[in-house]
Amino acid sequence: MELEELQATWTQLSTALEQQKIVTNEIILKMTQQRYSNKFSKITFYETIGSLICFAMAGYIIVHFSSLTTWYLQLSGILCLAFLIVLPILVLRALKRIQNLAIKDANYTDMIIRFTKAKKHLLFLQRLGIYLAFLFFLAVMPVYSMISKGEDIFLNYQASVWYIPIVGAFLFFFGRWGYGCYKGITNSAETILKELES
């Protein structure tokens, strides 16, 4: 074989490669999967930290539950525990579900349908969390007051009533901001999936 033949063989290889996809599609899928999962990793980290704080608070309430002596304080305590334990678990599960969506193993339509379902569920939980946060705030005030100070604020609510608009306003703006972040992340993840179609 002469040098010219080597060159011609190489040129033929280049032409053949132009006509077919070798491994790039697979790698691009892997990269897409990684980019997609990374979209949720930061928020999962913060949600995990938040969940641990919620669980710690729930533990604190459980340990001091005997301090809640009246039925309405006990009811408030139970509502707080439900909020602090159930909601974080549901949110983490929803995040795991959307983060682990297997891009490679499904066809495009199935993947988009599964993503849309997971996204709706996650955003629903976020909205639910925002509304319940107001309820939680109303329930946690008497519980905290009784456990830490031994005061029943249902009997002396005038002293604490001014907290309500301040915390309410905070929850309103914080909730809107948090929900906006979630929407931004899920929309951005959706864009990554849509790139696969093109």
Binding site: M1, S14, Q19, I27, I192
Partner: protein, 163 residues
């Protein structure tokens, strides 16, 4: 189109280059795929710093070959043998077994070269001019010329022995 989409488009458009580089520097399918992924990752990392000062292909060759050299040196590979596995392209209607044999022989010659010579040979086969090879490899154009002459001599003697 955003940055990520641009990058994916770029890789798709130039996967032939990456395939050829990874084939030259590895001797089995698994290593080739590892190197391919590594190159794509390095290209992605340096994508921001690419400012159209050189041609896209020049930038891709430079990053890809540097990555390949780093990986080859770290694994201290030498004396490559050519595996059939990576040569076999997806067979099409125009598949030519004689060409496949010639291609294997070509890879055999390339794999006998040292790591720098492999890169120079690859760029030469790609039809690059000495100036562009110099830009990709960081050698001076005259140095490129000298080294390529030596490679040609080496190949000629190999070809003569084979014939």
């Amino acid at each position: 189109m955003d940055k990520e989409a641009d990058f994916v488009e770029l890789i798709k458009a130039n996967e032939g280059i990456l395939f050829k580089i990874t084939t030259v520097y590895t001797d089995n399918g698994a290593d080739q795929q590892d190197l391919y992924q590594d190159i794509v990752y390095q290209l992605w990392k340096s994508f921001d710093s690419f400012r159209n000062e050189s041609k896209i292909s020049t930038w891709m060759y430079r990053v890809a070959m540097n990555t390949a050299l780093t990986q080859v040196r770290s694994k201290k590979r030498s004396g490559h043998s050519v595996s059939i596995e990576k040569m076999v392209l997806k067979q099409t209607d125009s598949y030519d077994p004689q060409w496949e044999t010639r291609l294997q022989l070509l890879y055999k010659y390339i794999h006998r070269l040292n790591v720098l010579e492999k890169g120079l040979m690859l760029l030469l086969l790609e039809g690059k001019k000495y100036d562009e090879i110099a830009e990709i490899t960081g050698l001076s154009p005259s140095n490129v010329g000298t080294r390529i002459s030596r490679i040609k001599q080496k190949l000629k003697s190999q070809l003569t022995n084979t014939n």
